[in-house]
Amino acid sequence: MPSNPRSLWDSITAAGPPAGSLYGVGGRVALAELAHASILGGRLEELRGRSVLLTVTDQLTAALAIAELDGVAQRMVLSPPGLAAEHLPAVIAGAAADACVRDTGSSTPGRDLGIGISVDARARLEPHAVRRASTHETEWILLTSGTTGAPKLVQHDLASLTAALGDRRPAPDIVWSTMYDIRRYGGLQIYLRALHAGSLVLSDPAEPSTGFLARAAAAGVTHISGTPSHWRRVLMSGAAATIAPRYVRLSGEIADQAVLDGLKAAYPRATVAHVFASTEAGVAFEVRDGRAGFPASLLDASGSPVQLRVVEGTLRIGSPGNAHGYLGEDAAAFPRGADGAIDTGDRIERRADRCYFLGRQGGVINVGGLKVYPEEIEAVINSHPWVRMSRVRARRNPITGAVVVADVVLAEGGAPPAPEALERELLQSCRQSLAPYKVPATIRIVRGLEVSAAGKLVRPDA
């Protein structure tokens, strides 16, 4: 007889009742309360063994529902906020969802989508005698933030999602926060870390950076994560000093030297770490030396559970954190190679003992037959002291097919140089360090650049 699978709840209560709390915009919930309370109105048993679509707006509600559902649902689909309604039917069909947890009063999902059971999540935890028995090894489905078309359904389980967790001993003094949504891979990692050790401050898309930072500070945040785009927004908010974390983590996009230096200057006492992770490949490694890229010694290292290789120019990762596959009609497109490793599609260039990310394989701009990675040029532009962030994109051109153009957001404060002078300086520094075809044809100073719900720079051409 196999023993019952160990659920997330079992795992976080293994050493006794959890000491931490979850902080949402609306208030705080002590994790220990979940032992005898429910966000699902006590209707958990109706969801046992089912394929459950979790589609709620509020992150705190989602955080509580996930903790209830693992070990109970056969499958749990984490629908991120901002999922276009047009994609919902394909997600439901792909995951064979037969139940959903939704916001009270929500009109879209439910019976009209062919889902038999709809449970309205409550506004707050309500006391219920809940049986926390784990009977299922719940499959967790994450949706990738694809740049085009419908999201893919990525299959994980608690084992693959917690493979990179390391020390799980309770650490009540650790207060995590993440600017990611916890229903995306980067945020989910922080959620799982925080539940095993400490507390978690959740973000809210409607909340400005200053408000979020003030809330994180009030909760005593010590460890905080976001994408480089999230962090640039914090540095631009003028309120970065509101918090004084010990650990600052970047993931989800390439961390260039400028953002790493900016964070080191803003948080001189913190460890600034950038992490490579993707929904498909899982967490691969963490770099703590404050430099962009990663040590080449990580490649082909023997004896490590995470195997990194560069094959045909892209990074391949074989790890217990790898996803198991894509669910549904995308199954054949899962980027697992013959050796079992996941092809991340991220192009790597090795210079001496360091490996650098050149950008996504698909994000290449073609200038007269020559390949240009936007991130490489952005890194040069971002190194200018007056630049906070930039976006390099393709512009159609009758002569070379495309040219490279850059949109630049200036750093806050002080008196910036005249736009024409700054453009000249930026072009000059690009010319010094880049091949001519990589130098932007035009540079435009803009007030801001769009960052997606997933915390990544929106690339219209990608």
Partner: protein
């Protein structure tokens, strides 16, 4: 004309003296330089004659190039 000179200096190319009859292929600029000139002219003039629905005769001389933009601006 200033765009030609500006781009030539940026690309560190020697620009031949510009005249109506000068063949673009001999003016000293490469295709990347032309690509940049076209992009910047679109920014400053708001027009890109090459994107027009009707086919354009690709300019051969500097004079052709100027007339292409003049004709489009009218």
């Amino acid at each position: 004309m200033s765009q030609f000179e500006q781009v030539a200096s940026e690309q560190e190319r020697k620009l031949a003296p510009l005249s109506d009859g000068l063949k673009l292929i001999e003016c000293g600029l490469d295709s990347l330089s032309f690509a940049i000139i076209v992009a910047r002219l679109e920014d400053s003039l708001g027009i890109d004659p090459f994107s027009a629905e009707r086919a354009v005769d690709f300019p051969v001389t500097f004079g052709d190039f100027v007339r292409l933009y003049e004709g489009f601006a009218k």
